[in-house]
Amino acid sequence: MLKRIIATSLLSIATLAAAQGAINQTKGDYEDKFRQLNESLPTPNVYRNAAGQPGHQYWQQQVNYQIKAHLDEEKHRLEASETINYKNNSPDTLKYLWLQLDQNKFRSDSLSAMSSSFGGIGARGPATKSASGDKPAQLSLDALRRQQYVADHELGYQIGEIRDASGQKLHHVIVGTNMRIDLAQPLRSGESVNFSIEYGYNIVEEDAVSARSGYEHFPDDKREGGNDIFLLAQWFPRLHAYTDYEAWTNKEFIGRGEFTLEFGDYDVQMTVPGDHIVSSTGVLQNPRQVLTSTQRQRLEEAENAEHPVFIVTAEEALENEEAGTTKEKTWKFSAKNVRDFAWASSRKFMWDAKGHKQKDADQDLVMAMSFYPKEGGELWQKYSTEAVIQTLDVYSRFAFAYPYPTAQSVNGPVGGMEYPMISFNGPRTELQDDGSRTYSQAEKRFLIGVVIHEVGHNYFPMIVNSDERQWSWMDEGLNSFLDGVAGREWDPTIPWGVEPRDVIGYMKSQSQVPIMTQSDSVLHLGPNAYTKPAVALNILRETILGRELFDFAFKEYAQRWMFKRPTPSDFFRTMEEASGVDLDWFWRGWFYSTDHVDISLDKISKLRMDTKDPDIDFDRQRQVELDKPMSLTDERNKAEGKQLWVERFPGVTDFYDENDRFTVTNKERNKYQKFLKELKPWERATFERAVKEDKNYYVLEFSNKGGLVMPILLELTFADGSKEQQYIPAEIWRRTPKAVNKLIITDTDKELVSVTVDPRWETADVDVSNNNYPRKIIPSRIEAYKRKKSTKKVSRDIMQDIKTELKSDDEDEDEDKNDD
């Protein structure tokens, strides 16, 4: 029995060791922060090579869709049929195909619903709170509304017949948000198969269930029964990706980890009420059937316009939303090489457009367009389409020219969500009592920011097709980094985030998780998938690699994986391989660990070169002794006028009273000469030069309190008031990651008085109070605030405030309490 216990415990120790990796430090406490990542990254192969490039046998599937959809506005229901052409480019034979049925997430028996804890965290939707402390459990009105909505409506897909090209019914099994279709014949490598699916579903009310798409009802519009805006996304059974790294990526949709899909061509027909305007992925194929000649003419004008041109004006949209019709129209769109397809439809839409010309690009004209109701108003007229164009302009510089013919921004109930060529963005104006619509500067920033972010997603992950279900940071982090760049180029006075200092609170907390955590399991998604990776890339660009190396490598990554499917290792490898800089320590620290940055400058010692010449050195030593503070007793004796014994009785003095212990004799001088003689010529030259230059030698002692190894950025301040910057690469930590010393040599007259680590807050150092030597008192935020009260008025709703009437003196009293 005992034997067995021993055997078991040995086994578990062995398992533990294996889990830690093949290379183990089993003595001392040395941690190799620079250990190369190869043992953690997947082995390079013919599909993804060691450079982070698609391998010479890289493959991906292609899936083409033909969809005919009918939108029933009254019932808020979609009925559709799709024909799918699946091309198997993989080397494998497939007996079945897996499809995504995302609408099933809203079913009450979905994994999402069943696995949500009461008051569960991380839900993208109305939340609940369970009991604790002395408070009863709470259900928000939202949660109740959602519950009632789900109870009252049949949600999820109704899947009808599935038949292959010969009309034969295909067996299928629905597993939550996934569906397996068993093929009549195994699909061999290089073959394709066609099949069709009849389906329908009740469109969710976005406000009730909080989704990435759905409808919004406007009951107060003049038309009887009100109006709706429909945002259609995740609206058709879509093929799961089949990949070289995970095979079928059929991890169930729980709500947080988004999608990964295959590229393909789409032909979509949507039949909608005759007065609706449709915005969609792709290019409109039948403008003559659905647009008036005036609208078509305006679209043509817009191609070369300097400012956005209205295709549907505000007045026309208002007329539309008041009238209504019983007729229907069928809009036809076609999209090439996209990984998804979404659309929007409403009679409330006004529509503006402006052509964006791209030089030296395959797609020389891109139509930037915005669709929004009167609730979007002037805010959207002014900024939406312009922000779309600015995004394409900036992102193209960092990645590749925009390859699609349209880029659209649509206002509806969704706060911000991205699809190929189309994005849904939420900001709106406020209706004032006088009937006008105004917006604050904060709402303006919100609109510009969200449009840049969502349109930017065209690049990551719509074209550089990363797997969002596994790694949110690969699209959100890269995109947040670039939206910060674009935002600053729009207006640097707007705070755009992604400053290293913004993430220190999260990084020093005990609840941080590694960026490489699967997205459904991340506790703080915002700081983890958006801010921290964006900050990390910003630091790489501005501080570690510099812009030239970073921009080249980042662009290389984007272009290598344009219309392909990268994984994290492909990003890490490309950034290293293209920049020529070993960054394994950086990925390890920032992406694989929860270390934070806290470098402390603990001590500086000054050293001076001994000349060995006793006539110089002994005198210096004497001076050192004299520089020591006088004994307090001696000083007080003197002050009291005490006469020394030797002064009172001169006879008791001798030789040693005249010559102190630093007196030089020929014995020392001979020794010095002998020392010089014994030096080899090169030693003597070096020695004499060092003595002559008599430089200052400073030893700086650093400790790494946060664990994350980073370059040490120094600002040296000298006695003459001058300052010097010094960059010590992160590699200084490679052998002793907890503490390092650095020798700094300056000219004799360059006397160092103080040193600051990371003076410009570039590295996300969480504690700057140990960054100065000598130490400085760094006030806490409250202390600093009390010293200087900040009264920044960066944004006001001046459009509304300007209507304020000027009060006469006697009216003043009542006004004191109102807005400043």
């Binding site: 965290i121 928000s140 500067q441 913004d502 005990q510 806490s780 202390e783 109102n818």
Partner: protein, 170 residues
């Protein structure tokens, strides 16, 4: 102020309707620092909210013309709102009353400051931080407690209303 588990699960309605979908710019997270400041001998509480979160919150709480950036009234109201939903006590039930130390906007963040003198001896703290969590319960409030032993982090998410930290005295 004793922590007790309620067996009874009641559904009580919140007054506020929160229709705020998630996207990049509204994170529904706040991060705070409770600092035991050795220089001032105060406990300093510094709450950091994203302006985008606060902007939407104030309109739900104080009406559509509330403006967290431009209106000092709104800033004061929001600051008071936060102060009301944040409290500290010892496990014995002795409340530690905080005074307002001001508020400010700094870049994309709205800061609310509270402080009080450090008690002579403090073995633990029981903390409640409900700000914005009554509005949209998916709000996650994180607190780093610094300056008293190793940094400790409290995360108010899920069902949590009260959290406790212990301080070691050596």
């Amino acid at each position: 102020m004793k922590t007790r588990k309620l067996l009874q699960v009641l559904a009580s309605l919140l007054l506020f309707m929160a229709v705020v979908p998630a996207f990049a710019h509204q994170q529904k997270t706040a991060i705070s620092t409770i600092l035991f400041n050795p220089r001032t001998e105060n406990i300093e509480v510094m709450h950091r909210f994203n302006v985008h979160d606060a902007e939407h919150a104030v309109r739900h709480i104080f009406g559509k013309n509330a403006d967290i950036i431009a209106s000092s009234d709104t800033q004061q109201e929001f600051s008071d709102y936060v102060a009301q939903r944040f409290s500290m006590a010892t496990q014995n039930g002795d409340a530690i009353t905080l005074q307002s130390a001001g508020y400010e906007i700094d870049g994309q963040f709205f800061w609310v400051y509270l402080e009080t003198g450090q008690p002579a001896k403090l073995d633990n703290l029981v903390i409640r931080h409900n700000a914005l969590r009554d509005l949209w319960p998916s709000q996650i409030n994180t607190i780093n407690i610094e300056g008293k032993g190793d940094l400790q982090t409290l995360t108010f998410s899920d069902s949590v209303e009260l959290l406790k930290v212990e301080f070691d005295h050596q």
